[in-house]
Amino acid sequence: MSHSEVQNLLLLGGILFAIGLIGFLTRRSLILMFLSLETMLSGVSLNLIVFSKFHQNYQGQILAVMVLTISACEAAIALAMVVSLYRRKATLDVQAWDDLSETILPKSTAGDYQDLEHEEHYPKLSPAGLDPLDRPVPSSMQASLDQDQKTSPIVSEVNQRA
C-alpha cells in the first residue's frame, strides 16, 4: 500500500466528512440532516479502515465496527423520532421545533415559519365526578328554594337552625 494511495483515501474520507458537514448545517429537512450525519460517519469509518490497512492490524477495523454499530443505533432512534415528531406537527422542518432551543438566540430565518396545517393533539383529562347532563342528580342531593317541596335533610336542618 503506497503512500499516495493512503493520501488519496484520506482525502476521500475528508471530502465525505465535509460534504456531510455542509449538508447537516444547511439542510432543514429532518431526514436529510440525518442522512448527512450518516455521510459524515461513513467518511470517518473509511478513514479508520485506511489506517487499519496501512498499519496492518485490526484496530482500525474494530473501531469502524463500533462506528457502524453506533450509527445503526442512531438510525433506528432518529427515524423513530422523525416519525413521532411528524405525527406531532405534520412537518419535517427542523425550524418548527425552534422553540425547544434557547430563546435568546436570534432566529436564523425569521418570518418564514408557517402556521400548522393540522391541529395539535393535547392530552385530555379523564372526567372527574358526575356529569349532570348525563345523569340526574339524586333527589336527596338536590337543593331547592321552594319550602313546600320535599327538601334534602341537610337543607331542612339548615332551615331549622335559622
Binding site: 500500500m1 503506497s2 503512500h3 493520501q7 488519496n8 482525502l11 476521500l12 475528508g14 471530502i15 465525505l16 466528512f17 465535509a18 460534504i19 456531510g20 458537514l21 455542509i22 449538508g23 448545517l25 444547511t26 439542510r27 432543514r28 429537512s29 431526514i31 436529510l32 442522512l35 450518516e38 455521510t39 461513513s42 469509518s45 473509511l46 479502515i49 487499519s52 490497512k53 498499519h55 496492518q56 485490526y58 477495523q61 474494530i62 469502524a64 465496527v65 463500533m66 457502524l68 454499530t69 450509527s71 445503526a72 443505533c73 438510525a75 433506528a76 432512534i77 427515524l79 423520532m81 416519525v83 411528524y86 405525527r87 419535517l92 422542518d93 427542523v94 436564523s108 393533539h121 379523564s126
Partner: protein, 273 residues
C-alpha cells in the same frame, strides 16, 4: 498483556518508501473553487441548465486529468472510479432539492465508499455498511418520505439555513485536512505491529480446539506477511479475543436502541376518556 515474543522496538519494516507531497496547491484550489460554486448555486446565481452542464463537464475533465495522473494499474483505476463516484454522489446529495434525489445521491456515495472499503480488504465492514446504510436506512427513509411528503416540493427543502457559514466551516476543515495529508514526510513509514496490548487471550493449545499460529521473532519476512490482516476470519478472531468486552457492549447498545426505537415509534393514545 503482550502475548507475542517480539520486541516492540525491533519490528520488521513493512512500508518505507519515501513520499513527496506535491498535490497541495492544486488540491486547495479545487476545494476553494468547489466551495465558491456551491455558494453560487445556493444563492441562485447559477440559473441556467447550460451552466450546470458546464460545471459537470468541468468535473468530468478534472476526473479525466486525475485518471491520466495516476499509475495505470487496475486497482488504482478501480479505486479512482469508486472515489469519483463517491464524491459525485455526495455533491448530488448536497445540491439537489428533491429529497428523493438527495437520498439517491447519498446511496451512491455510501455504496461507492463501500467499494473502496472492499479494496482495503475490510470485507465485513463493507458488507455490513451496505446492509445497514444502503439497505435498511434508504428503505426506511423512502418509507418515511412516502407518508410524510406531499407531491410538490416543500418550502423547507428549498430554503436552506446559513449556507455561507456552513461552507466556510467545511471548506476550512477540508483545506486543513488536505494540507496536512499532502505534506511531505508527514505519513511515516510503518512497521508491522502485531502486538496486542489490550488482549485478554493467551495464545496456546486449548483442549478440544486447534489455536491458530502466532507470529514469532524467528520467522522470516515472508512468514510474517501471512499475519498481515487481510481476512475476515482474522477480524473475527481479533473481535472476540482482544475486544470482547467492547463488542458485547456494542451489542447491548444495539438492544437498547431497538427498544427505544420501538417505544418512540408507538402511536400515542389519543382518546383517554
Amino acid at each position: 498483556m503482550n502475548p507475542l515474543p517480539i520486541d516492540p522496538k525491533n519490528l520488521p519494516l513493512v512500508n518505507g518508501d519515501p513520499f513527496q507531497g506535491n498535490l497541495a496547491q492544486i488540491l486547495l484550489m479545487v476545494i476553494l473553487l468547489g466551495a465558491v460554486a456551491y455558494l453560487l448555486l445556493q444563492h441562485g446565481l447559477i440559473k441556467s441548465k447550460m451552466m450546470a452542464w458546464a460545471g459537470a463537464g468541468l468535473f468530468a475533465f478534472a476526473a479525466l486529468m486525475a485518471f491520466t495522473s495516476i499509475p495505470m494499474q487496475l486497482d488504482s483505476l478501480v479505486r479512482m472510479c469508486f472515489s469519483i463516484l463517491a464524491v459525485a454522489g455526495g455533491i448530488a446529495f448536497i445540491t439537489t432539492r428533491e429529497p428523493v434525489h438527495a437520498a439517491l445521491g447519498f446511496a451512491t456515495a455510501v455504496l461507492s465508499s463501500c467499494g473502496v472499503m472492499f479494496m482495503q480488504s475490510a470485507y465485513f465492514i463493507a458488507a455490513a455498511t451496505m446492509i445497514v446504510y444502503a439497505g435498511a436506512t434508504i428503505i426506511i427513509f423512502l418509507f418515511v418520505l412516502m407518508f410524510a411528503q406531499k407531491a410538490q416540493l416543500q418550502w423547507y427543502d428549498v430554503q436552506l439555513t446559513n449556507p455561507v457559514i456552513a461552507t466556510v466551516v467545511a471548506t476550512s476543515l477540508l483545506m486543513a485536512i488536505a494540507w496536512s495529508v499532502s505534506e511531505s514526510e508527514e505519513i511515516l513509514p510503518v512497521k508491522l505491529d502485531l502486538t496486542r496490548p489490550y488482549s485478554l487471550a493467551e495464545p496456546g493449545p486449548s483442549p478440544g480446539m486447534v489455536m491458530p499460529p502466532v507470529p514469532e521473532a524467528s520467522m522470516t519476512q515472508d512468514q510474517l506477511n501471512a499475519f498481515v490482516p487481510a481476512k475476515t476470519s482474522g477480524l473475527g478472531r481479533s473481535m472476540f479475543t482482544d475486544y470482547l468486552l467492547a463488542i458485547e457492549l456494542a451489542g447491548t447498545v444495539l438492544l437498547v436502541a431497538t427498544l427505544g426505537a420501538i417505544v418512540l415509534a408507538q402511536k400515542p393514545e389519543r382518546d383517554l376518556s
